[in-house]
């Protein structure tokens, strides 16, 4: 009938996503591609380059999972989602995993029925001020005009922060990040506040980034991480431990450069278990023994992904801060591979 011709011709493999219930791992293997939800574009986290290849920190997670499951970091169908479409895309089964700088909150985890498999970036709301203002702490901002995006949690966090510190401020409501940049640069507000990673990315686009400072106060918790649907724990495990493999690899000093010799066997049993030369961890997940090795080789370990996409050597220039390994005073911590 009409439908079968038209829809059959127009519908593509990517849209005919896998079944929503159990067996996502089998679906992905059968399909030969991982459907990964990303943003439509966020500097450093996910954006296509001039050749149309997706690059970025969140994209690195997608590629690692694809490499672990399918052995090929390129076997990813990136599904761009907006803040409004991301959760329906995941719930309806259009994507297998959502890696889109999504804050892990109670209601998203419990009420929307998703499983956050971990945290790949600890973000939080920060402040940016011009250097000329001579402010070194957010507590000195009494009476300041603040550019703030309306209708977001950042607005509420801001009100809480100023009230608890007993200082006053004057909000300048703005709609988008682009508008905020213009307002802030033209001096319509003294302070711009949003997530610290966003502030850093915004500052990187200024003509004179050195003329602006990020204040040390972080006034909210925004743990960002990949998530999957409730109800398929096996698939959740695969994504969770792919992320953990990247973290553990950094902790153990396994990089994409030395992984070849490490995989030949080392004296460190945890490295051997991670890379599949000892034990049967891959088999337990339903993957082959070299799964973690493939995931790490896709884009490097956690630290390499960070440095390559958003770290201090990039224009965005984010410091590791909370996202340092726990051994370096950060929060990045993976359960052991045992």
């Amino acid at each position: 009938m009409k439908k079968s011709v038209f829809f059959g011709a127009l519908t593509v493999a990517g849209l005919a996503a896998g079944a929503a219930a159990a067996g996502t791992l089998d679906d992905v293997k059968a399909r030969g591609k991982l459907n990964c939800g990303v943003t439509t574009g966020l500097v450093g986290f996910a954006a296509p380059d001039a050749n149309g290849e997706w690059m970025g920190f969140d994209v690195g997670i997608c590629r690692a999972v694809a490499a672990a499951v399918l052995g090929d970091p390129k076997a990813v169908e990136f599904v761009p989602t907006t803040g409004k479409t991301r959760f329906t895309a995941l719930a309806s089964g259009e994507i297998d995993v959502l890696a889109r700088n999504t804050t892990w909150t109670f209601s998203r985890d419990v009420d929307l029925k998703f499983t956050f498999v971990g945290v790949n970036y600890y973000d939080g709301q920060g402040f940016m001020v011009p250097k000329d203002l001579g402010v070194s702490s957010a507590k000195e901002l009494d009476g300041a005009t603040v550019c703030i995006q309306t209708g977001t949690t950042t607005e509420l966090n801001l009100a809480d922060f100023f009230r608890s510190n007993n200082i006053s401020y004057e909000p300048v409501p703005i709609e988008t990040n682009a508008e905020a940049q213009q307002q802030y640069l033209s001096g319509a507000c003294d302070v711009y506040t949003t997530d610290a990673s966003g502030l850093a990315a915004t500052r990187a686009t200024f003509e004179d980034p050195a003329g602006h400072v990020l204040l040390p106060e972080i006034i909210s918790k925004e743990p960002l991480g990949p998530l999957v649907r409730h109800g398929d724990d096996n698939w959740g495990d695969v994504v969770r431990w792919s992320l953990n493999a990247l973290v553990t690899a950094e902790e153990l000093g396994v990089t994409s450069a030395n992984i070849g010799e490490m995989a030949a066997g080392t004296n460190n049993p945890e490295v051997n278990r991670l890379l599949g030369t000892e034990g049967t961890l891959g088999e337990m997940l339903g993957l082959d023994a070299g799964w973690a090795k493939a995931a790490i080789m896709a884009g490097g370990n956690y630290g390499e992904l960070f440095e390559g996409n958003i770290g201090e050597s990039t224009p965005i220039g984010l410091a590791r801060g909370l996202n340092a390994q726990w051994t370096n005073g950060g929060l990045i911590y993976s359960p052991p591979f045992r």
């Binding site: 009938m1 127009l10 896998g18 439509t40 479409t85 940049q181």
Partner: protein, 431 residues
């Protein structure tokens, strides 16, 4: 007498005064300026103000455009070269133009396919737009949708062929039986088309698209201005006939048809387009089983078409209402039946009146196609807001990109409105 006359007149010129040029204020530039720019004090003040405004606008934009850089590889490099001077960073256009036009995933070695489609489109719509062209060209216009589908999406040629055969069979059936009874012809044609499509669809082998002559490109890989053009053209050409049908339905004497049309038109006009788009992209994936999703492009086309057809219906209804009742009565008294009366008497006049309104809807619809960027389709605006501005090289370039988008849209929309004015002049039969 003569002598007396000579004496009584003190002086008589003996030669003709040579022609002198007209006063400076009554000629050339000065006169023009006096008449057009400074004819009164208030006009003079306005002129000076306007000149100041123009100077202010140009003095800041012209250096910006003239100093523009076209060959750098990132915004940072632009700023380094400009070193504080005012200047545009057009390099973003030279580096990303193919993404802005075709989207970032359309395979670059296949760009000739959309290009060729655009050329063929110009040929195909020519006989529709210009009535003087030979009518035989309409055959190509009828074939164009199938050719365009095959060129843009690629894959097996069997799918558009089967669709074409279905339409041809339906058309032939209607030709045969529609004369005697419109209802038999109409509904029979639909049944015939469905039969052909289902048989043909089952005959196409599963892997037919894998090794097709033109590699298949999934809908999700379409993007950029190409997507705007495709959505605009498809939706306009589908919604005009649908809108006319709805307008006629709303005037119908049959309560059921009239009721359906009124409810549809009023419902669609009462809902924002963006809501319909969200329904298309988000809600429908809940209703369909995961492995039977309708293509997103098709969903969006359906929604935009429904939306604009309701508006076109109202425009056409205005045209129908503007006709004197005598025209309807004249058609009846000639013994014409309803389809003949509409086709020969009523619609040609009503549509002529409706042209400005229809063009208005078409231009608005074309610009509304940028709304698909909110449902994560990468049309021109979606490409700019998403991938291009989110790249580390080009984050922070706004004016150049949005100016380029505005220019592209302006060219197309201005062309449409110029055409409609030409058409109105051409159809003007007043004396």
């Amino acid at each position: 007498m003569a002598d007396q006359d000579k004496n009584s007149i003190a002086f008589v010129s003996t030669e003709v005064i040579p022609e002198s040029p007209p006063p400076a204020r009554e000629t050339g530039v000065v006169k023009w300026m006096r008449e057009n720019l400074f004819s009164s004090v208030s006009n003079g003040v306005l002129t000076v103000l306007a000149l100041l405004l123009i100077y202010g606008a140009l003095s800041s934009t012209l250096p910006w455009i003239m100093n523009g850089l076209w060959t750098t590889s990132s915004l940072a490099e632009c700023r380094e070269i400009l070193a504080g001077k005012s200047g545009a960073c057009f390099s973003v256009l030279t580096e990303r133009w193919h993404q802005l036009i075709y989207g970032f995933k359309y395979p670059s070695e296949e760009y000739w396919r959309p290009n060729l489609t655009l050329l063929l489109m110009l040929v195909a719509i020519a006989p529709v737009l210009f009535f003087d062209l030979p009518r035989k060209l309409l055959i190509f216009t009828g074939l164009f949708p199938f050719i365009a589908f095959w060129l843009i999406w690629g894959g097996t040629i069997l799918a558009p062929l089967v669709a074409l055969v279905g339409f041809v069979a339906a058309g032939a059936f209607f030709q045969r039986f529609g004369r005697s009874s419109f209802a038999v012809g109409f509904f029979g044609a639909i049944v015939i088309a469905l039969v052909v499509w289902s048989i043909g669809g089952s005959l196409i082998p599963d892997g037919a698209s894998d090794n097709a002559m033109l590699p298949a490109v999934p809908s999700r890989d379409l993007g950029g201005f190409m997507l705007n053009m495709m959505l605009g053209l498809t939706c306009v050409s589908l919604s005009v006939p649908l809108g006319i049908a709805l307008a006629l339905g709303r005037q119908s004497n049959m309560p059921l048809i009239k009721g359906i049309c009124v409810v549809f038109i009023e419902f669609v006009r009462g809902v924002p387009l963006i809501t319909l788009l969200f329904v298309a992209s988000v809600m429908l994936s809940y209703f369909f089983p995961p492995d039977a999703t309708v293509d997103l492009f098709l969903r969006v086309v359906i929604m935009i078409t429904l939306f604009s057809s309701a508006y076109i219906a109202e425009v056409v209804r205005g045209g129908l209402a503007a006709l004197p009742k005598g025209q309807y009565e004249a058609a009846d008294s000639l013994g014409l039946d309803y389809p003949q009366a509409m086709r020969l008497i009523i619609l040609p006049q009503a549509l002529k009146i409706s042209i400005p309104g229809i063009v208005n809807v078409a231009v608005g619809l074309f610009k509304d196609t940028t709304l698909v960027s909110v449902i994560s389709m990468f049309d021109l605006v979606g490409m700019i807001r998403g991938p291009v501005l989110a790249s580390t090289e080009w984050n922070g370039v706004y004016w150049e990109l949005f100016g380029f988008a505005a220019l592209l849209f302006f060219v197309v929309c201005y062309g449409i409105s110029q055409y409609s004015q030409w058409l109105e002049r051409k159809l003007h039969k007043g004396h």
